[in-house]
Subunit: 401 residues, 2 copies
């Protein structure tokens, strides 16, 4: 037996964990690889528009940090995160009766890590985990490694329906996961009254309600609704991120949680990556500490509002009867529903052949999927291309009705 | 029931996962918190010396990257990592018959994340995991979240004894974890002949041998021994890091693995933190790409060699009979054995009261601990303080014999 035979025998025969065996390659990911071709108009991306990245501010901040505090910025640091950044975050969420403590804030390597840590600390195999219908695909990917039993919660065009959270449905759950602001994939925003109901539910629940809020700052009119955290600060686990308001490539997010859970999350994070890079945490703090976001975020809102309007206008102009979609008040996504007979996974293959792309809705459902749905992102496509892309997509749909 | 009562009931009653309930606070960590006081001479740190961080090179690299490629450096990027850095790593490990492919390299958020991903992908509850006696504490922390059954492997002053890897002992194992170069905590380096034996074992094993190599570049004479990877490239999972040769605060490490395992690790990483920060990966590449390490690493070696010599001289000068220690040929640690009756956990409390600190050996043992052992780091303590600190510690030990 020569070396190459041994190779094949050995690496392939290594036994994987149960959870790893369940990991499958995404068919969508394979199809979407071609969308990097410049001729493709892609509404598939979940990426923020790079024109919104404050590169010069980051450059100046990096330079100051490596000039003034190189040893600290380049050394190992506390698992909990950079204290001035934790304090800044706590202060930003504190107002009136609601006081968030820096001791509740854990800095994470992007919000995705927050999901992994919550799975680690809360989920056992077959634990019930409550999710919206549909829900964020990245959360499903994270939690699934801990092998939960998903329970899909009822939703309508306004999002989660708190009245449907019956004791029978929620018994034994380890967490409820929700994105109340401009949800990925639907773009839905939970109305004020439902927030009050969900916060009241959280106060009596035996498990945390997780409020994942990467898009909250991106409401087009600058009229945010109160967070669940502000309504029930000791009963909500709030996830935040600088990815959509500064830049995702720094991978800086955070978890705000009651101290009891915070300590466990810190222990889990220590075993997971010791700490988020000291340097990137300091860059974020240096850029935001003097109020930069107050002038910067409105420019992102204005850009996305304009591109969202262009997409809604194009949908109105081109889509045949039988196609419906929502009108987001913020965020990055429009959610569309096609006639029931159209499977958007199959539609995607034809669309890509016509140089237009989107994300099929099916992977965003934890259990039974609505296969006639799709997600459209407008944030990285200029208005004239939005019009052309939606026209192409509408023609394909029309041909299938 | 008022708001604060609800708080106490609720957050404390949230049910944690089995793995999280097993996480305990480290008594050592609590004791060592006081070692941040300036009057304490601490041999407890595992931190590299900040004088070795190339801050000016990092500053210039950051500036160039944010000037020339801000959109790419600040945007989401591939889970696998920054391709030029992956190619640089693959080339660095390729020589003669051994060709490492960029497609085998996954960039991780520090080496600690590599351990978490291996646990995720390979370890089920009660899976046998083979570890050295003692072994790296951080690896135990990572793997333990996946609830393995640890099997302690026989070692002597030269490290792991491959001849003791019998079929009975290794049956059903999911991985063997080893640090052949200047192991943390013992500073031991595995001799060439044992490397050959361990590589041969790996070629016939039904599980990967994981070669964790953060300290390999730090051999004081600049005469590295060949890696296990170079001896059995398709049978070894090799972990590397820029933490000890550039700076740990960037959190950039990597896994080299056969593609079959690599793909699974990529899927697991995607669910864990999407990707390591784009910016820090580019900084590392920008600093190392033109041969910087070839001149930089010898300066780190020279510093650590000198401080190691100072510690060995002080141990020789002050330690009473009955205390033994090794003479590392590289790395950051000396491992000492005290008379059997001395429990170094208890010794630590007295030592801290006398303003000198170390890490007790017990937590580095997966199962039965040798409680009369301790780890001494010399890299952040100047020679005159090393002498004073060891004198104090020796006096405490002498009083207990």
């Amino acid at each position: 037996m020569d070396q190459s035979d041994l190779t094949n025998v050995s690496a392939r025969s290594w036994q994987l964990s149960e959870r790893a065996r369940k990991l499958t390659s995404s068919a969508i990911r394979e199809i979407l690889k071609v969308t990097e071709r410049p001729e493709v108009i892609s509404f598939a991306g979940g990426l923020p528009a790079p024109v919104t990245f404050p590169a010069e501010q980051m450059r100046a901040a990096s330079d100051r940090i490596l000039r003034d505090a190189p040893a600290a910025a380049l050394q190992y640091s506390a698992t909990e995160g950079y204290m001035p950044l934790r304090e800044w975050i706590a202060a930003r969420y504190s107002q009136g009766n609601v006081q968030i403590r820096a001791s509740q804030v854990l800095i994470t390597t992007g919000s995705q890590q927050a999901l992994d840590l919550l799975g680690k600390v809360l989920v056992c195999p077959q634990s019930p985990v409550l999710v919206e219908t549909p829900t964020y695909l990245g959360a499903l990917q994270s939690f699934s490694l801990y092998e939960p039993h998903y329970v899909q919660l009822s939703t309508d065009d306004a999002g989660l329906i708190p009245a449907a959270l019956t004791p029978e449905l929620t018994a034994g759950a380890r967490l409820l996961y929700a994105q109340p602001n401009f949800q990925n994939p639907t773009g839905r925003r939970l109305p004020l009254e439902r927030r009050r109901e969900l916060a009241a539910f959280a106060q009596n629940a035996a498990f945390p309600v997780v409020e994942d809020d990467p898009y909250g700052a991106l409401d087009y009119r600058g009229e945010p609704l109160p967070t669940l955290l502000s309504m029930a600060p000791e009963h909500i686990v709030h996830l935040g991120s600088f990815s959509k308001v500064l830049a995702p490539g720094l991978r800086v997010g955070y978890i705000i949680a009651p101290e009891e859970l915070h300590f466990k999350l810190v222990q889990a994070k220590q075993a997971t990556d010791l700490h988020t890079p000291s340097f990137t945490q300091r860059i974020v703090h240096e850029v935001v500490k003097d109020g930069f976001l107050d002038t910067h975020v409105p420019t992102i809102r204005a850009l996305y509002r304009e591109q969202c309007a262009a997409m809604l206008a194009a949908l109105e102009r081109y889509m045949p009867e039988g196609v419906t979609w929502n009108r987001p008040e913020g965020g990055m996504f429009v959610w569309a529903q096609l006639p029931a007979a159209i499977d958007t996974m199959k539609l995607l293959e034809d669309a890509v052949a016509q140089n237009v792309a989107f994300v099929p809705g099916a992977p965003f459902f934890a259990n039974e999927a609505q296969r006639n749905t799709l997600r459209l992102s407008f944030v990285t496509v200029p208005p004239e291309k939005i019009d052309a892309g939606i026209a192409r997509l509408a023609a394909l749909i029309r041909a299938r009705i």
